[in-house]
């Protein structure tokens, strides 16, 4: 009895849904951001649907670690959604080359993005664009404002000030100067090398020169960041060699460390954990008055399934993703993931405001190893992790590290041969 009622109800809803579908187009969105499910359902989707009657959105995320495999098999089987969230660089480029992602170079919304923002999702020659840039993360240093006040330290602007501040914290002894470990390796490269590096290689200028083969990893601009990293070891906590990423997060949010080299993605998590006021400063420049460069790394993009039955609706949605309305909703729901569009955005979180304000002061670039250079074997990104750790521990000199990376890169990358 109950069963037949249930089946009846299910049939009725199916029929209702199908009549609705006859008028409306439903776009299914593939994503790995299952953390963001509520934000999409409560904020982004209602905002879009209110403005575009006739198009419904269905956000169907999968687990981050499984996303690439799940998406690939869905695309091969022809059952993937209309809208596809894009990982930056090679993973999405492979999808485009296999004919799964549509060419959206001519989309009007694309005009809102800078070349750097678009670099994560364009072909190597930048002629074809296959995903709309959605969010980036900015690198820098978060610090404990209470600790800085207590010790009378100002936000360091230059490298000399930075090390003077570290010395002062170390001398005082009540805080660990800098919370970072080398156990998980990626922090040393991502929050170390690629955080401070752009100041030396002058952001995009150096990165593009490296891609073109005009600069080498043994050049001063690429070795100098390692020289700075080599000095960091003395300011990290006892036993930093076995300190993991969650260890560092905890040390900082418990107020045991003064400075935390990091990226903006920590903001929303840290806001709930730290009971002291946090501030942020961008990587200190070599000499006062130098132009500062920040790593404003493209992280999430969004594109269109080449075989979608609803290309027009999908394009409408992608155009909306490029608008400042979407950027404002997204940035405020997820402080720390910044919209990439040049459209003006109002942020409420003070720490996030601080991070995004650097876009006005400094030149933006992306992590040096992500585009093209980590395509071959040995993998430059993995090698950079390894070299950054070895340099911090003092097991390899900065010059040797540069030499080893250059040898690895030139073994397969033609412009460097």
């Amino acid at each position: 009895m109950n069963n037949s009622k249930l089946i009846g109800a299910m049939l009725a809803t199916t029929m209702l849904a199908s009549t609705a579908a006859a008028q409306d187009v439903t776009l299914t969105i593939e994503s790995w951001r299952n953390d963001d499910l509520t934000i999409w359902q409560d904020k982004i989707i209602p905002a879009f649907e209110a403005e575009h009657p006739g198009i419904k959105l269905n956000f169907t995320p999968s687990a981050p670690a499984e996303y690439n495999a799940v998406l690939n098999s869905k695309l091969d089987a022809g059952s993937a959604g209309d809208i596809i969230t894009c990982r930056p660089f090679d993973a999405s480029l492979a999808l485009f080359e296999a004919g799964h992602l549509a060419d959206i170079t001519d989309l009007e919304g694309m005009a809102n993005f800078s070349a750097v923002a678009k670099s994560g999702w364009s072909t190597d020659d930048a002629s074809v664009q296959y995903c709309v840039p959605m969010a980036s993360v900015i690198h820098g240093f978060i610090y404990n404002k209470d600790a800085f006040e207590e010790l009378g330290i100002e936000e360091p602007k230059t490298e000399a000030e930075f090390f003077a501040a570290l010395d002062k914290i170390k001398e005082d002894g009540s805080y660990i100067p800098m919370a970072m470990g080398t156990n998980d390796q990626w922090e040393a490269a991502t929050m170390g090398y690629n955080n401070i590096g752009p100041n030396y290689w002058k952001g995009e200028e150096g990165r593009l020169a490296l891609l073109a083969g005009d600069q080498k990893l043994t050049d001063e601009a690429w070795v100098a960041p390692y020289r700075q990293l080599a000095k960091w070891g003395a300011y990290l906590g006892d036993g930093y060699e076995a300190q993991t990423y969650p260890d560092s997060q905890n040390i900082f949010t418990l107020g045991r460390a003064a400075i935390y080299p990091t990226g903006s993605w920590e903001i929303s998590g840290f806001n709930g954990l730290a009971d002291f006021e946090m501030g942020a400063f961008y990587p200190p420049v070599q000499n006062a008055g130098d132009t500062c460069y920040i790593s404003d790394h493209t992280d999430i993009g969004i594109g269109m399934n080449a075989n979608t039955p609803n290309p027009d609706a999908a394009k409408t949605f992608l155009n909306w993703v490029g608008s400042s309305e979407f950027a404002t909703i997204f940035a405020n729901a997820l402080p720390g993931f910044f919209p990439l569009s040049s459209a003006p955005v109002e942020l409420e979180d003070p720490l996030a405001q601080e991070f995004i304000s650097w876009r006005g002061e400094c030149e933006s670039t992306i992590r040096s190893t992500y585009q093209v250079l980590s395509r071959g074997t040995p993998n430059l990104e993995n090698d950079t992790w390894n070299a950054s750790v070895a340099v911090i521990k003092g097991e390899e000199t900065p010059e040797d590290a540069g030499k080893r990376l250059q040898e690895g890169l030139s073994s397969w990358y033609e412009p460097q041969q």
Binding site: T182, N183, N379, N382, N386, V389
Partner: protein, 308 residues
């Protein structure tokens, strides 16, 4: 009327009873094994799979980048195995000898307590030991400090010189129960008459162990060695749980299992390469096969067995 002895009947029950196991084993073990071996002979060029013969093996052993990683992983794997052979198995034998002593009290309690880590998940063991040894939250520095030996403490898992040995010892801690149980069973099966006869001859205590019991349990020790060999060369979980797929610091804990995983499934920006991954898996298979054959034909066939 047919004579039941004229023609051998098909014994259907044998086929029926074997079928489920054979089918499942073929589907999840034999087919994947041969498919992996087959995959190692292919490569991907411009999105299509092409047959390349032994080219992948040539790359693995001939290319400086690949071969350096491979030999590093293999050497680490041998060190991992050596520690197990030198630490785990002697301790297991000693524990079994102590446990089989008839006058020991609470023997079954000790036996269970020592065996319990074996049934724990690698992930739990990896994380628990990472926490114990952590320089920040761990109890290892505090305990050493309490006995005045703080200077001996080092962040072992983060130091290239110690990390692999530390992880080997963690693995020994986890698995010492297995040789202990096997040897314990072998010791219990030695008839009392033999030991009593030896006692009459004046062989007791330690010399009874060395001269009577040890020769009788040698076949079990042989089996344990080969089980350790196979398990160690297939190891992956503990290293992955404790140090991640990059097997840091500086690949000092990289063993064949983690090297294969990283290559096959990719890591961070490194895209997965199923063909090179299969090549490494095939080499691992060959190493284990050679090791087991050496043991079977070289050692086990010459070992003396005693019938009671």
């Amino acid at each position: 009327m047919s004579d039941p002895h004229s023609k051998p009947k098909i014994r259907w029950h044998i086929i029926v009873f074997l079928a489920p196991a054979v089918l499942v084993y073929t589907a999840v073990m034999i087919y994947p094994l041969f498919n992996t071996l087959r995959l190692s002979l292919f490569s991907e060029v411009e999105q299509t799979r092409v047959f390349v013969g032994l080219q992948n093996f040539r790359t693995l052993f001939g290319d400086a980048v690949w071969s350096a990683q491979f030999w590093n992983a293999l050497a680490n794997n041998f060190w991992f195995f050596l520690i197990h052979m030198l630490v785990q198995n002697p301790i297991g034998i000693a524990l079994a000898a102590i446990l089989s002593h008839p006058k020991l009290r609470f023997a079954s309690f000790y036996r269970s307590a020592i065996f319990i880590p074996t049934i724990l998940s690698f992930v739990i063991v990896g994380f628990a030991w990472k926490l114990i040894l952590s320089p920040i939250w761990g109890i290892a520095p505090g305990m050493l400090d309490a006995v005045g030996l703080k200077s001996l403490y080092a962040p072992w898992l983060g130091k290239e010189a110690y990390a692999l040995t530390t992880l080997s010892l963690v693995s020994v801690w986890q698995f010492v129960g297995i040789p202990m149980m096997l040897i314990y069973a072998a010791l219990l099966s030695i008839p009392d008459e033999i030991l009593e006869a030896a006692e009459v001859e004046g062989i007791t205590g330690f010399s009874a162990f060395w001269k009577i019991k040890l020769p009788l349990i040698l076949p079990s020790i042989g089996i344990i060695s080969i089980l350790t060999f196979v398990a160690n060369f297939n190891a992956f979980d503990l290293i992955y749980a404790a140090q991640g797929a990059l097997a840091g610091p500086d690949f000092s804990t990289d063993i064949l299992g983690t090297f294969m995983y990283r290559t096959f499934f990719g890591f961070q920006l490194q895209l997965g390469d199923p063909h090179m991954g299969s090549t490494i898996a095939s080499v691992m298979f060959a190493i284990i096969l050679i090791g087991v054959c050496l043991y079977l034909f070289g050692i086990q066939s010459r070992m003396r067995r005693y019938q009671f």
